[in-house]
Amino acid sequence: MAQGTIIIDHDRCKGCELCTTVCPQGVIEMDEVALNAKGYHPAILVDPNHHCTGCAICSVICPDVCITVYREIPQPRKNKLEEVTSHGA
């Protein structure tokens, strides 16, 4: 699965929690401690094991357009096969 990541503009976030309900990998949580400039607890990416795939579903539901999504550039299939083979060896 492709690796991706998101950048959340914390000061734009209004803490509605909608992104946390749609993330298929469950890697978005609400920051229960920090407050942003608006006074809301913003959403944060908690993804130590790099489960985010850059599917961009969070950015579709985010009402405040806080989320920028990145995904790894797909490698040609041949290279991936070579990679697997070399790792196997």
Binding site: T5, R12, K14, L18, T21, A56, P63, D64, T68, V69
Partner: protein, 261 residues
């Protein structure tokens, strides 16, 4: 599972803020789907490359500052009169794309005459109709689209249909008018329906570009603050209460629009 971190510089950008959407922070409440509707409209305008030629007519209601939130020209209409103002703009400047963005308190109540006659005249404008079944800006009073038994600040015991009548179904109403060529109802309650809504907005803008006639996209939306719900519960309420009452679908797609697709 890989544990190697790929630097963000080596990744490709999948989603970023649309250019047509201004960087301004919106005044909408947390979880309000007005902002989703704004974003979909901005994305559609960017995709069709219409930003430099679009004129947005903002309504009165929560979206009264809509012209501040888009990087394109906009004007503010009197309450409910956005279709009348859009008519004037489109007639003197037919090469511009003219969009009205209206809520249910604006379009379905005080502005019902303007929208019906704009459609009846077949004005070549596009209307984005945000239906959240309540008056949001003024504090959650009953709107013409409030559901039967829905509690609002002006119907604290629930909407009594014997006293206040039944909710207006705008898409069904508009579909009966000959001048309207594209009438659809979509919802913004989940990712799948948000994507369908964007597709409908794109089609509506293409209808105007082709000069086929009047187009309206009704979007079922939330008002978590005035419904007294969390944003997540409000999305659920749209799905379980509003969608059964206001069925989603294509209410009118003229043959000319089908050929366009």
């Amino acid at each position: 599972m890989t544990t190697v971190t790929i630097p963000i510089e080596d990744m490709q950008l999948i989603y970023d803020r649309p250019e047509a959407l201004a960087c301004t922070h919106t005044h909408y409440c947390p979880g309000c789907t007005h902002s989703i509707a704004h974003r979909l409209l901005a994305e559609a305008i960017d995709e069709l490359g219409l930003r430099e030629q679009t004129i947005l007519v903002a309504p009165v209601g929560c979206s009264v500052f809509a012209y501040n939130y888009f990087e394109m020209d906009g004007v503010e209409a009197a309450h409910g009169r956005a279709p009348a103002m859009a008519t004037g703009i489109k007639r003197v400047s037919p090469h511009n794309t003219v969009i009205t963005y209206q809520g249910d308190g604006d379009l379905a109540s005080i502005g019902i005459a303007e929208i019906i006659h704009a459609a009846a005249r077949g004005e070549k404008i596009t209307t984005i109709f945000v239906n959240n079944a309540i008056y949001g800006m003024t504090g959650g009073q009953m709107a013409p689209t409030s559901l039967p038994h829905q509690k609002t600040t002006s119907s604290p015991l629930g909407r009594d249909t014997d006293l206040t009548g039944s909710p207006l179904k705008i898409s069904e109403l508009m579909s009966q008018i000959d001048g309207a060529v594209y009438v659809v109802r979509r919802s913004l309650h989940d990712v799948k329906h948000i994507r369908q809504a964007k597709k409908a907005i794109l089609t509506a803008l293409k209808v105007q570009q082709a000069g086929l006639g009047f187009g309206i996209v009704e979007l079922l939306s939330t008002c978590p603050t005035n419904w007294g719900m969390t944003p997540v519960d409000a999305m659920h309420w749209v799905e379980t209460a509003m969608v059964p009452f206001f069925p989603l679908g294509d209410y009118k797609i003229a043959d000319s629009v089908r050929q366009l697709e």
